[in-house]
């Protein structure tokens, strides 16, 4: 319990409080003592002078009777008076005998002496020599004793209150802290046991623990999302690899059962290898997707000319378009430098063009356009004049392995659009699907490089004038 942070903090504060109190009281005490002593010595000296005056005027007898009168009248109960002759024989006053501690040398002394009914007291005395007589004038400290006592009691009480209150506050804080730490610990152990839905309790106020709890909750949110994503992907993998694996298995099993001629066997083995290749291809695509989703590819970002990359992709697909008499053309406004991952962008573009070519009708058209939006981004779009996608299907086509009605019977595993979407996301954008009437237009945007943004903002007319369609290929026939 002593190792609790709240308690050790409380102890620290208590010690600090006591030190502050003592530091405050000590000079006060000292100043008080000095002031009182000085004042009293002055009074004693005045007293002694007055007595010396009486002695000078009226002689020893006069002084004796003066002292007697004052003692009798008890003018001041705290006053000590004694007059002795040279052999220290008391002549007058309220002390029975010259105190042993007080020397006969004139001066001021602080001594402890026996004072009749009041017992032993500290007293301040002034000694003077008048002719052959010794005079002692003094005052005891009885009057100030209660004040002093009260001072000490006050200090002690302050320290006691400070200690108890500090300890109490420490204990209360510790309890509150322990209860919150306990609830956090419960949540965390629930999470450790696999239930990622739990969140740390948070309050409206913004203390340190709350801020920490909120940050941790944010982290948990992200972890849950990731785990969910991983689960989804593994479910999809399990589902979509099962089909080709099942085909492969039955093919091999049939081979073992039927034992056909070597010719047929080789053909079947080739088929089996193709099945395996299909599995590997799905696997690779999924791994690539996972890699992009995890955001690990941001390290591959470099400045690149998106117009050039697009033109290359269009050129790559040109012969395939030609085969089906599709007019595949790229349009750009000259070099536009964006920040991106060239490998992934090429792959995303090739997926989009591949899709568009699949759905465009014979003698149709596919247009790939790079356009500066003059808001710091470049839009890349691929449009076809195929059947398009109904609104209800638009959200589904981005899902992994989804294959629309129109794509039945075409090659592909249904990951093209989700990969393009993942690449767009990695570049801070998202795939926008819109209707071309007829056809589908898929677009995403990329951030322009800083320098390019400034240059184009300065001269937008110029680059607009430079806009021209660059047909990558002319449909033959």
């Amino acid at each position: 319990m002593l190792r609790s942070s709240a308690l050790s903090l409380a102890f620290g504060y208590i010690a600090l409080g006591i030190i502050a109190l003592v530091l405050f009281a000590a000079p006060l005490w000292y100043a008080w003592q000095v002031t009182i002593q000085e004042g009293r010595i002055e009074i004693l000296q005045v007293d002694a002078q007055r007595l010396a005056e009486v002695y000078r005027r009226e002689g020893a007898d006069g002084m004796r009777s003066f002292i007697d009168t004052r003692v009798r009248m008890q003018i001041a109960s705290e006053r000590i008076l004694l007059l002795t002759d040279e052999s220290l024989h008391p002549l007058s006053g309220n002390l029975p005998v010259w105190p042993a501690d007080v020397p006969l040398v004139p001066g001021n002394y602080k001594v402890r002496m026996e004072l009749g009914d009041q017992g032993t007291q500290m007293a301040l005395v002034h000694v003077a020599t008048l002719g052959k007589y010794h005079l002692l004038v003094g005052r005891d400290n009885a009057l100030f004793a209660p004040l002093q006592t009260r001072f000490w009691y006050g200090l002690a009480a302050a320290i006691a209150v400070l200690s108890i209150a500090g300890l109490l506050i420490g204990l209360i804080t510790r309890r509150a802290l322990m209860s919150r730490v306990h609830s956090i610990r419960q949540t965390v152990s629930a999470i450790i046991h696999g239930d990622l839905k739990h969140r740390l309790p948070t309050h409206l106020n913004d203390d340190e623990l709350n801020t920490l709890s909120r940050t941790i909750n944010g982290m948990l949110e992200q972890i849950e999302l990731l785990v969910h994503g991983v689960r989804n992907v593994s479910n999809s993998i399990a589902h979509d690899l099962r089909t080709p694996l099942a085909e492969l298995r039955s093919r091999l099993e049939e081979l073992a059962l039927i034992r056909p001629s070597p010719e047929e066997t080789f053909a079947e083995v080739d088929g089996a290898v193709a099945d395996v290749d299909r599995v590997i291809r799905i696997f690779d695509a999924l791994l690539r997707l996972a890699e992009i989703d995890a955001g690990m590819r941001r390290s591959g970002f470099v400045p690149l000319d998106i117009s050039d990359l697009t033109a290359n992709a269009v050129e790559f697909y040109a012969p395939a378009a030609e085969l089906r008499n599709i007019d595949l053309a790229s349009h750009s406004e000259g070099a536009l430098t964006v920040s991106g991952d060239p490998v992934l962008l090429a792959q995303a573009l090739s997926n989009l063009i591949d899709n568009a070519l699949k759905f465009a009708p014979e003698n149709g058209a596919v247009n790939v356009t790079v356009r500066n939006r003059f808001d710091g981004t470049v839009e890349v779009s691929v449009s076809d004049n195929g059947p398009g996608i109904s609104d209800s299907e638009k959200s589904k086509v981005m899902e992994r392995f989804y294959r629309g009605d129109a794509s039945r019977g075409t090659p592909g595993v249904g990951l093209g659009l989700s990969l393009a979407q993942a690449v767009a996301k990695l570049h801070g954008s998202t795939l926008e699907l819109s209707d071309q009437n007829p056809g589908l237009r898929v677009a995403f945007s990329l951030p322009l490089e800083e320098a390019q943004t400034a240059a184009h903002a300065a001269a937008p007319q110029k680059s607009a004038a430079a806009e021209q369609a660059v047909p990558a290929t002319v449909a033959s026939g």
Partner: protein, 226 residues
Amino acid sequence: MKILLVEDNERVSQFVVKGLQEAGHTVDHAGNGRDGMFLAASEPYDVIIMDRMLPGEIDGLAIIEVLRKAGKRTPILILSALSEVDDRIRGLRSGGDDYLTKPFAFGELLARLDALHRRAQGVNAEAPLTVGDLHMDPLTRKVTRGSRPIALQPREFKLLEYLMRHAGQVVTRTMLLENVWDYHFDPQTNVVDVHISKLRQKIDAEFERPLLRTVRNAGYTVTTDE
């Protein structure tokens, strides 16, 4: 070719060693990093096939780095189950010359080994290329077959140049994608085949003997052999 295979998986090793021997190569096999390092450093090989992840304290990339620092320039093909783009870049940066992801088709491995070996023998980028009666001058960018000039688009020229530089060898679709288009992904379509058939139209269509041939289950080759 004299080839060193550093690979710990027995199944894969057996398959590769057998395949390479059948293709007429001499193969040494090391099952762990230490043996691999020893053999690679002491024997003269034409090509080394290096598995990236090896048991024991030395992994494939470390061996490559040591060999390169020691001045060994033997071409090395890295074999790896790590397929991410960054892994590939890291592998090539460590001193490897090519990178092949497991699982792989044997034809792909063989074609890449041939290409590596050919590259290591030193090529004159400016020297004219000739296969049969097909000529290419990389400097003037003129292509002729027999006496007839052939007009090629820039990409077709690059494609044919790559094929002719590897004349007599099998070149896979992936190799073409990587070297002609610089595409390090699988476009999942037969676009490369379409490019090839277009090229074939230009160089072979009107001639009796075709030079650009398809190798079943592997890729393409430009050759005069029957």
